[in-house]
Symmetry: none
Subunit: 228 residues, 4 copies
DNA sequence: GATGAATGAGTGTTCATTCAT
DNA sequence: AATGAATGAACACTCATTCAT
């Protein structure tokens, strides 16, 4: 999945009023703050973009003083990198779990692919996912390394996992002889491309029905092209 | 085409030394300057992103003084919008011309699709194209209207033109009964998705061979799925 | 004179209310501002030291906005350098004029030396002189070049001028055969050393009587050591 | 002595790895730390100046945590004062010892003065001495009291001791009738002035030969002016 | 119409200082 | 007594934007 791979689940509501909250478990304070900052950073970066995101705003959102941010992360850049990475990690797990289902599924190929597609689209449409793609794309020239890192940690691995599933399906005769990597890449494209198109790069919501239709169409085209 | 639609041709070498150049035709000076500013703006925005692009830098690149920029374009935002729009217009023509070839072509379906795919990928890989996609994506939340405007002027119309071609192919029996719009959307996705993947959102070059392979694979899958 | 060479005259009262003052001579505005900034910078640096001097404060003192300061001088460092240099130039003239008097004087050697000493001490005790020495000394390790530059432009040349006068006095038999450079260095030391001592590096005033006494003592010792 | 009076001896190598060193005598730990901090503070202040010296850096250099510094010294200011005072105390001893030699010496006046001068110049040229003078001068307006305190503890007393020696020399007829305090002040000036000049306020080294020459010249002038 | 100069608002970053442990 | 973590206050520097010419 180009970007679908970077899905995200709703993050736990961390940043509470800093004074009101006396950390339940002593010693967790540091970690709490670090997590709160990462989370706030992600939200602010997502909302304002890298350049427009004020560290002040991030600190405020995290319920922390500005220097505390710099205490945990040396730089605005570093904070950016780590915030994205943290989110990417969460997303990776979610995406891989979805792909795994393909092998576990017992049903007919078509329904299994439709289901897989629908779930990957869900990941792709997730707000945090959209935000990460935007940020990565926007800062691709400023932070080329981030882009590579995160993509390798997520997108690559998801497509690879997908390719692995397809390879099995080739072996057991469900799919025709083909390059599983290419098949995976195309399956992902058939999901993400139309979604990107319809959602206008994530700037408008796509109805559940439309999402389902995209998954159906992708599965249909894929089966026509690859099923034995 | 999601973004491939926004291809660009090399723009004419505009920004010359401001003092050295005395506009040949008197009265053209204003227009010259306006064009020079638009061009410089595009380059600087493309290089630095919206937020990081200094109006100073744009003015310098255009060989004008900063207030001159503000005389022609009220805002940095306006300048951004117009610079992108100017580029999009150029790109649209190029893309439509490419799509038109599909109907003119006389050869076999496969080779015509491969050719079309290769040319669209060329548009997609063009530096200015990449830059526009990046900028649109990056500022999608800041300027949602821009995104829609430009997409409608370019992407939409290109996919529509493609759908129109496919509709003809359905009528003449080359393609099976299907929704031409969906077919167009998917064909575009099969080209753009893998390109985006391989080029890491345009941050690394994709070899000509690889591009050709993507076009071939897209045509192959498309034919298997849609040819009668 | 070690530092006495860097005397200063009261600078003309430049920085007036910026709004109230419409530059009498049109076109002088830029220069006015530049001078006002230099002057304000000197005062603030002198009062607070380099590190503690806020550019904000300098701008305010000059009746200018902060960016205007950066418009005229790229850096805080540059501003510092130029402010000191500007002052040093003024001081040099004053010191050289004083030394020149030695040759013009017609009276007895002792009274001429006492007079010279007293005038050099006046230069040395000048507030701006004290400030420059402090700043140079304080930032000697941060801006080693400044130190050299200014010293060469001032201190060196004053001692050299003094040596030149003494050389003449050797030739006309007023002073015994000796190294005029060394004599100049020592004469300066006999003035500046006790002044530095008594004024506690310029942090307390030395009475006019005490200053006169120092000059007298220096002249006396010098004559005993060097007069024929 | 203006500043020559503030000489320094190499301070014992205090700051060891804080963890590795378990104070041999229990209970000495506090004192060890205090000394380590003072020493580190001196070094950092000397290197960076007062304003630029980070308490962080001092703590690190001393192998302690920042709050430990604040436990021992309430303020950055206090730390500064005490660090300078500690160094001054060491220097005083050294300088007085040098002056004492004048009376013990048995040789001819000239050689004794030359020797005294050379030794005082040695003190004056010492790195820590140079640093202290710089710091005192730099912060003279910020901490006027420090300046007085330290000068009284060192400079004053050294000049006084010198004056005392000279008084004896007047009594035993070696020197002519004169004000011994003034003689002392001038002798010191003849040493320190040229040194300051030649070393460009301590920012470049002065060769041993040049130092010797300065001492010789000072002794010569002094003898011409004050010997019977 | 074009410009040199000026500015108000804001940004990232640092530092002396203080709690809670 | 010593520390890790947190903070409020500043500060250098930049930028989009506007006058006066």
């Amino acid at each position: 999945m180009r970007w679908a791979s970077i899905g995200g689940m709703a993050r736990p509501p961390t940043s509470q009023s800093p004074k009101a909250q006396h950390p339940s478990t002593p010693g967790t304070g540091r970690i709490d703050k670090r997590a709160a900052i990462l989370d706030a950073a992600f939200q602010v970066f997502a909302r304002d973009g890298y350049a427009n995101a004020a560290v002040d705003a991030i600190a405020a959102a995290a319920g922390v003083a500005k220097p505390t941010v710099y205490n945990h992360f040396t730089d605005k850049q570093t904070l950016f990198r780590e915030a994205l990475a943290a989110d990417a990690e969460r997303a990776l797990g979610r995406n891989l779990a979805v792909v795994q289902r393909l092998s576990d599924g017992r049903g007919e190929l078509r329904s299994r692919l439709e289901d897989l597609g629908a779930r990957l689209i869900e990941c792709y449409a997730d707000d945090r996912s959209v935000a990460v793609r935007r940020l990565l794309c926007a800062e691709a020239s400023t932070f080329p390394e981030i882009h590579s890192e995160i993509r390798e940690q997520t997108g690559e691995r998801v497509v690879a996992a997908l390719a692995d599933r397809f390879a099995h399906l080739v072996l057991d005769g469900t799919l025709r002889e083909c390059d599983p990597a290419q098949a995976a890449e195309q399956f992902e494209a058939l999901l993400a491309g139309p979604m990107e198109h319809r959602s206008r790069s994530g700037s408008r919501k796509v109805s559940a029905a439309a999402r389902r239709a995209i998954a159906k169409a992708a599965a249909d085209t894929f089966i026509r092209a690859y099923a034995r």
